[in-house]
Symmetry: C2
Subunit: 213 residues, 2 copies
DNA sequence: ACGTACTTGTGTCATACCGTCAGTTTATAT
DNA sequence: ATATAAACTGACGGTATGACACAAGTACGT
């Protein structure tokens, strides 16, 4: 962890770090409760009980502060990796592994939906910083799934023509987008549990190429 | 089609409709070329060679104008329906149907990515108008796939425990999100063609429960 | 305890955008 | 040609933005 600095290069002390953290926290709350488009520096400062100038002491603009928030989320996402790597995807335990991955993803997304939404948008708009974060966010899981698929191919249990990374990426993308739009599933009268088991089935088959038991 | 009206309730004539259309067109260009957050009424007006006041004559705010744009996209999306309904999903033609659906989806998304991005965000943030549009956008395809799955179940070719709408919704969500984030696949070194065939395989199996030929 | 050096927070200002109005220009009907 | 309605514009008050100088607070050595 590099040292926390103010915009003009000074090293922030204990109090400064507390203010900075409070600003980030309030920014997170605002993003969650209002439209991303409407979040302004003044709002954040007010919410944190301070002034705009104080905000600009720690962040050059809102975007940068959001990047910071996203990086925090990224750090927490490390836990997702364990759900995908070192798992046994064949047989009965394969279904369990897929189920755990799906649950983990949905829960993680629900927990951080506001920030992840913004990351998604900014990444799609081409902002490099956010693309990087989104990529890293998925990377561990995608890589774990890719390896699992490659391994199954090596042992002859799966067609060689399946492209491991494409399949893994598509599955992870599906999980993320489904988590972000659970409301849409509501409108199709799909209940939470049905969505989870549907996703689980698709993930299990996508990885193994075989009907899950 | 109801008559085009100004904000203060008057019916717009030929010239007015042209200006309105030009404003919408410029809004579309701006959303495509700059960050959604930064698109302002003044920018749109300037781009269209008119004044902000003129914009407010036809739209109460930017959101409403974006809704209008999204509705245009929705109208064009009718073509997607044909790619999913009345298809034969079994056997060799099933793979072709899935491939056509994937291609259609990716192309459609690429063509309208900027607006669809905004629709996605606003829908995720809970804006009813955009949720509705997004839902309708997917609805025809989701329903077609749901029916296909249900039909396969009725004829005993697919496990009864598969939830048709959940599966169809997840697949369509996967297609949309994959299309919106093709750059992410770049970073995983997945080429366009590999993505298409990977998605095709997942869609074909998701619908039929059988390995595509 | 006190003064000094440094960090943190505030008040203020120029600028830019928003949304509205009164009023001018352009089209249409008689 | 004239009346009437539609379309557009310039300008304005109000407000958020972002930058800066300076005041208030804090830690630390003596």
């Amino acid at each position: 962890m590099t040292q926390v600095r103010t915009v003009d290069g000074r090293i922030a002390g204990r109090r400064g770090q507390a203010t900075r953290a409070r600003l980030l926290e309030c920014l997170g709350e605002l993003i969650a409760s209002t439209s991303y488009r409407d979040v302004t520096v003044i709002d954040v400062a007010r919410q944190a009980g301070t002034s705009p100038a104080t905000f600009y002491q720690y962040f050059p603009d809102i975007q940068t502060a959001v990047v910071e928030l996203a990086n925090e989320v990224l750090r927490e996402a490390a836990a997702l990796k364990d759900l995908a790597s070192e798992q046994n995807w064949t047989g009965r335990s394969g279904g369990a592994a897929a189920g755990a991955l799906v649950d983990g993803f949905l829960d993680f997304w629900r927990q951080h939906d506001a920030i992840l939404r913004v990351v998604d948008l900014a990444a799609a708009e081409g902002d490099r910083r956010f693309s990087r974060i989104r990529m890293k966010l998925f990377n561990s899981v995608v890589q774990a799934l890719t390896e699992a698929i490659t391994e199954l191919q090596r042992s002859g249990k799966l067609d060689a023509e399946v492209h491991p990374a494409a399949t893994a990426g598509a599955l992870v993308t599906m999980l993320a987008a489904s988590a972000a739009h659970t409301k849409a599933f509501d409108s199709w009268s799909v209940k939470e549990g049905e969505l989870r088991s549907g996703l689980t089935r698709l993930v299990a088959w996508g990885v193994t190429g075989r009907k899950p038991s």
